[in-house]
């Protein structure tokens, strides 16, 4: 999968960096980014669709469509568009292997 980001930053780039992991890969975002912004500045998609071949990258960005849920290595899933990125977050685009 491409490690090039989907989004393009246009402003507000002088914020402190935040380190996080995406599928085990070390990534960097900026403080104040949502999880969606953080992940999509390092990848083209947030997750794989459970029902089709395509990747998903969010849709409404305001908590209404539920397209942007992501997995965390620690267990709880999060809505990427409305969760701020935090230092040390470990995110996954696919469910853990033991998920039924």
């Amino acid at each position: 999968m491409s490690t090039e980001g989907r989004i393009r930053r246009l402003a507000e780039e002088d914020r402190p960096p935040v380190e996080f992991a995406l599928d085990g890969r070390d990534c960097r975002a900026l403080l104040g980014d949502t999880v969606l912004t953080a992940v999509l500045s390092n990848a083209k998609t947030l997750r794989h669709s459970e029902f089709g071949p395509e990747g998903r990258a969010g849709f409404c960005l305001m908590g209404a469509c539920q397209d942007c849920w992501m997995w965390q290595e620690s267990g709880p899933r999060i809505r990427a568009c409305s969760t701020p990125i935090a230092e040390g977050m470990r995110l996954m685009s696919m469910p853990p292997r033991e998920w039924p």
Binding site: M1, S2, R6, I7, R8, R9, L10, A11, E12, E13, D14, R15, L31, G32, D33, T34, T37, L40, S41, K44, T45, L46, S49, E50, F51, G52, P53, E54, G55, R56, A57, G58, F59, C60, L61, M62, G63, A64, C65, Q66, D67, W69, P76, R77, S82, P84
Partner: protein, 459 residues
Amino acid sequence: MSERVVIVGAGPAGIRAAEVLTNAGLRPTVVDEGMRSGGQIYRRAPEGFKRAADKLYGSEAKKAQALHACFDRMLAEDRLAYFPLSSVLAIADDGLQVLTADGLQQIAFDRLIIATGATERLAPVPGWESAGVYGLGAMQIALKAQGVALGRRIVLAGSGPLLTLVATQLEAAGAEIAAVLDTSSLAKQLHGLPQMLARPRLVARGMAMRAQLGRRYRAGVRLDRIETSSEGVEAISWTHRGTTHRTECDAVGLGWHLRAETQLAGLAGATFTYDHSFAQWLPKADAMGRAGERLYLAGDGLRIRGADGAEVAGRLAAVACLEDMGLSAPDARADARRMRRLDRFAEGIARAFPWPAEVVRQLPDDAVVCRCESITAGALRDAVDAGGSEANRAKSLSRVGMGRCQGRYCQLAGAEIVAAQANLDVATVGRLRDQAPVRPAPIGAMRSPDHSTRSGRNN
């Protein structure tokens, strides 16, 4: 003890409703999903972002600043209880079940003002399930709240006032806009013009924005297909005056004006009618927003009038609430007059930028209608043939409307497809019943030990 009034939503309508109530000496509770107050059109960036208001809100900067200041003042003076980052999941027994950052809480109310706003109104375009397809509003939210463009080469398509507005905002910020494709023809747009002239300055501003886009703006377009790879959008093909075009892009923003967010209103007991000019189900309410016993609605969740209309509707709902409690209320006659002008404009917009019902009815069988579960138009048509045309029946058989968005983004398109298959008017198909919880919630929150009422927090 005075009655407990709870407002759901801290956008233009919710904030102005709170202002009227606090001025009357009440202490309302405001529950809002956002990290900060302001709603979507006047959405605020997180703390630490530095762009000035005129960069974020353009010609509407003064309105946005006034609204934000109004809320911040009420909060600083402790004149309301505020639950940010909190989603109402259900309404029962005169209480809201609210998922807050600290778990599930019950918030009791005597009167309820619902100001939940709107989402984009979406029509499926083949390929729209792919990564890189967003709502038009999402494009705007990404720019305002995060300072980012959701792609490197963007096509905006659909119809409505947001289309050219978002295009010019993105371009001014440095994004590349490859094309702006309006499915409404110039003839239809002229049809709405007389009523839209109720607000001549807005019309002039819209024309200027369009002129700025030049040949990249096309009216009367048919959107044929979004071409995709496993990593997302690659191009959009479209037809204009009989010629097919293909525009390469890595992101598409779609939207056909707005769709009222009405699920909480439905759970609170509002009833609905299909409004043919707005082409959607809208709650029944009087001119002040009274929609049931001790229930008031305001803003785009009541009727699509935009931010200015939402501020007026918020004040009117609060005045109605005060009057019904037997308290003295400010004179609402000027706002009622203002609202009549805004309503004329809103009707004009609805005419000028119509919902593309015929295109939706003719979607190819392999086009995805439900993005949540990737269910196609063909599968929905089969469900109608097997089980009939009632909306909720078609939903249980096909699962279109049963995914995680609970039909917010497929209900209107689904209803058109069902109606076409059964040869009915779309209003006859019916509205999907509102089902709690209206947001997904972790099971863990349900066994939270603290179900007691809290007084909110001030941050």
